[in-house]
């Protein structure tokens, strides 16, 4: 509970010019916005790629410009951008940066300069990633999983240079994340204000904190895998390359193991799912609690569930590899560990529902997105039990069932939380209010649209329709109705795609024309709403740091005058 940052504002690096304030800024809030805008910008590229993929799948042959190579490049870049450069960067670099110091009562991150470097490294990684579109051969088309040998062999688009830019970009991203992640972890552990015990922190901070610890442990696996593959590709080593045939000739490589890469990749890749999910879990808990005017149900259980999920997620990676050709006996262990992780996850779902139960539910736009998240997450979480249950995975792996599952659980669900979170904190971040009608319209089209996209995909997968197929062609077990379904899914996808315009218009228009926001429009109890200025000034808290006397969830406390008690309000007993 000791604080290392005093009330003294002097240690802060105060900006002196426009450039140091908005470009080379060391203010966590500016860095958060820089991170978020970059992430959303590159996310839009991935969104366009998904629309192009859907055009090909829904209307095969209608767009001769989309060739098999292009299609695979769209698939690969879409996946990698969404998982790493959008979701990870936005939830940790964006929300983590903005919320951690404000929610724990700190003036800034403990290493503001490293924090700034983290963003600029991230921007560099995005630039290198985008450069992949312009190198000879185009970006990599090896799938976001980048499995060797095909990622660096003839027959795969982008095996010449696209894979190099991808791997270099990932390595830079890991460096950026490490700088950011160390900062988040250290800030949470060292810079909490007086009275902010760990068990008084909002769940958003718990989610982001645990995800950052996990990232620091998981990303190195991706880093070494990327470096080793770069060596294989550029220096002729054989880490992942066995003796094989390529273009009719025997390669000089010898003895490498493609499975080694898969283990390294998924040792990163599975925790990565939770690196995205845990901040979303935390944030959505806060949204639900605030807008249901009720304490989060079972707070301690929620904290432990986050920590246990984080720990267990390092023991389940090979459930992505049941049919990879690894020793099949691993399947017993990984199926068991995978299904065990469903228990703490289910507890989180129950507690969200039990928070709504006996609540006083205000259905504002952020809450609508939080409710939609509960629905999609239940759906996506349950479909994960099929895939985790080893033998059930055998017919389903590499079919559209997998595509449907991971989009529901780690595409749609976190994105719904991100939308909810943006609507929720926008008045604090920019001091303006967005338009409610546009927000609701955006919600309804997005929520119903994504379900129309992904529900049928589960059934195509159960039928056996394989993923990553440029065209299904004439296949006996695939009836004509599947092609019709694909066309409808594409239409739904394009509608959802267009509906995002509503969101961007609303956000940008409100930035200039939105009404001035109340400093605490939702009546929230957590610290970030109690700043003296809205938007918070550099240093966040004015002359004195806030002092915390209670947890962040004192909503509708019996006997209290209002239906929330801010964390800074002393306990009654202490006052007496």
């Amino acid at each position: 509970m000791a604080t290392t940052l005093a009330d003294d504002l002097r240690p802060l690096h105060h900006p002196h010019s426009w450039v140091t304030k908005y470009v080379w800024s060391q203010d966590h809030k500016v860095i958060a916005i820089q991170y978020s805008c970059t992430a959303i910008g590159i996310g839009l590229v991935a969104l366009v790629l998904s629309a192009l993929m859907r055009l090909q799948l829904g209307f095969p042959g209608a767009f001769p410009a989309i060739q098999p190579d292009n299609y695979l490049q769209f698939v690969s870049m879409h996946g990698m951008i969404m998982v790493v450069y959008l979701l990870t960067a936005l939830l940790l670099g964006g929300f983590g940066n903005y919320l951690i110091p404000l929610m724990i009562g700190a003036r800034d991150m403990v290493f503001p300069f490293v924090n700034m470097l983290s963003f600029w490294f991230y921007l560099l990684s995005v630039i290198v990633l985008v450069a992949g579109f312009f190198v000879p051969g185009g970006p990599t088309g090896a799938g976001w999983t980048l499995y060797p040998p095909q990622a660096i062999s003839e027959g795969t688009p982008g095996h010449q240079w696209g894979i190099v830019t991808m791997l270099v970009s990932l390595a830079i991203f890991v460096a950026a994340f490490t700088m950011g992640g160390l900062n988040y972890v250290t800030t949470v552990l060292q810079a909490r204000t007086r009275g902010m015990t760990l068990m008084r922190m909002p769940l958003s901070v718990w989610g982001i904190f645990t995800a950052s610890v996990m990232g620091l442990l998981a990303f190195p696996a991706l880093f070494v895998a990327a470096i080793m593959m770069l060596f294989d590709h550029l220096a002729g080593t054989s880490f992942f390359m066995p003796t094989m045939q390529s273009m009719g000739a025997i390669t000089p490589t010898q003895g490498g193991s493609p499975l080694l890469f898969q283990h390294l990749f998924w040792f990163f890749g599975h925790p990565e799912v939770y690196i995205v999910a845990l901040p979303a879990f935390g944030i959505v808990s806060d949204l639900i609690s605030v807008h249901a005017r009720r304490n989060i149900f079972g707070y301690r259980m929620m904290v432990w569930a986050i920590v246990i999920i984080g720990a267990l997620s390092f023991l389940v990676w090979a459930h992505h590899m049941y049919v990879s050709g690894m020793n099949p006996y691993f399947g017993f262990f990984f199926a068991t560990s995978t299904l065990i992780i469903a228990i703490p996850t289910a507890i989180k779902v129950y507690n969200w529902l039990l928070t709504l139960w006996r609540g006083d539910i205000h259905l504002r736009v952020p809450m609508l997105f939080a409710i939609a998240f509960i629905f999609t997450f239940i759906h996506g979480g349950l479909s994960g039990l099929f895939l985790g249950n080893v033998s059930v995975d055998v017919p389903l792996s590499d079919t559209f069932f997998v595509v449907a599952h991971f989009h529901m659980v780690m595409g749609v669900s976190p994105v719904l939380v991100i939308f909810g979170a943006i609507y929720h904190w926008y008045p604090k971040i920019f001091g303006r209010m967005w338009n409610e009608t546009l927000g609701k319209l955006h919600f309804w089209i997005t929520f119903l649209g994504v379900y129309a996209i992904f529900l049928p995909m589960h059934y195509l997968g159960i039928l056996g329709v394989p993923r990553r197929y440029y065209a299904l062609g004439e296949t006996a077990f695939i009836p004509q109705s599947v092609h019709l379904a694909n066309a409808w899914i594409s239409i739904a996808a394009l509608v959802v795609f267009c509906a995002q315009g509503l969101f961007f218009f609303n956000m940008i228009w409100s930035l200039f024309r939105g009404p001035r926001a109340d400093p605490n429009p939702w009546g929230a109890a957590s610290l970030e709403w109690l700043t003296p200025d809205t938007p918070p000034a550099h240093g966040n808290w004015g002359p004195h740091l806030p002092v915390v006397y209670r947890w962040a969830y004192d909503y509708s406390v019996p006997g209290a005058a209002r239906d929330f008690i801010p964390q800074t309000e002393p306990q009654v007993e202490q006052r007496a």
Binding site: P157, M244, N295, L353, D360, V394, D398
Partner: protein, 289 residues
């Protein structure tokens, strides 16, 4: 309110979609009914959870919606309720896991009497090899590949001489006989996938992988590649013909063995083949032809 109605309608709609959608498993053509049953058990348990949880969500949204004068109930935790929920979740999980692991136990135990058949993948086609009368597949590897030895059999291994080769043709299987399909890739990762068999497994260059099945239904089925293998991934197709043992034996008698191919190869091709096999330095105690 509308969101509660929407959630309830989505639950009803999902159940209706499940009941009336034309897309479900292909009719099974192998012994892996246990996989289908494990999927069914998982579906029932997960389906009940999906319906129950979301209807509770919709109900709570209606019942506890904001009204003037209404106030939420303050209750930080309820350990006994949480314990009960954890317990019943664990029961549900165990109920799914048990049939899943039981089916996997069968999947990893190849019956002793299973015939070994090899499927070889390359960008972007399938080839197959049968062990011939001796019942043993000869040694093979990428390093032995020549234009006349596409599957890369070791020409010095006597066990390979009677192996029956089917390059880029159909795979034939006798109905009712367990087969262990061993998988080998010449280049990148592939995956041998026949939806009607339920079973699948990756082909990994550098190692030999396997799975087993017993075809239970005669007919012709598509073989797809289910692991991204480059530009032609979607076009990497093959066919498997499941037929009666008599028809299978008849078909097999018409195929050529590796020995026959060697016998018909011109001397120049033979030289290349032997050089690839390092025949000059590997002592061979048997004649080549």
């Amino acid at each position: 309110m509308p969101v509660a109605v929407a959630i309830a309608m989505l639950v009803v709609g999902s159940v209706a979609f499940h009941l009336f959608s034309p897309w479900w498993r292909t009719p099974i053509a192998s012994n892996w009914g246990s996989i289908d049953s494990a999927l069914d058990v998982t579906l029932w348990i997960c389906g009940a959870a999906f319906v129950g949880l979301n209807l509770f969500l919709a109900w709570a949204l209606v019942k506890y919606r904001h009204r003037p004068g209404h106030r939420a109930h303050y209750e930080p935790e309820n350990p006994s309720l949480e314990r009960r929920l954890t317990f019943w979740t664990a029961i549900g999980i165990a109920g799914m896991l048990a049939p899943g692991l039981a089916a996997w136990g069968k999947y990893v135990s190849v019956p002793k009497e299973a015939t070994v058949i090899e499927a070889v993948g390359q960008q972007w086609q399938w080839s197959f090899r049968y062990p011939g009368p001796d019942g043993v597949l000869g040694a093979a590897g990428v390093k032995y590949i020549t234009p006349d030895n596409g599957l890369g059999l070791d020409p010095l291994d006597p066990f390979g001489r009677d192996d029956i080769l089917v390059e880029s043709g159909d795979l034939h299987l006798p109905v009712g006989k367990p087969v262990k399909i061993v998988l080998r890739s010449k280049d990148v990762l592939h995956d041998f996938y026949v939806p009607e068999f339920r079973a699948k497994m990756d082909l990994v260059p550098g190692i030999v992988t396997y799975f087993w099945l017993t075809p239970t239904k005669t007919g012709t089925f598509d073989i797809l590649c289910a692991e991204l293998c480059g530009t032609g991934h979607h076009a990497m197709r093959g066919k498997v013909v499941v037929e009666t043992p008599q028809a299978f034996a008849q078909w097999q008698a018409q195929q050529s063995s590796f020995g026959q191919i060697l016998a018909e190869a011109p001397p120049a091709a033979m030289s290349i083949l032997l050089i690839k096999a390092n025949a000059c330095i590997v002592p061979a105690s048997w004649s080549i032809r």
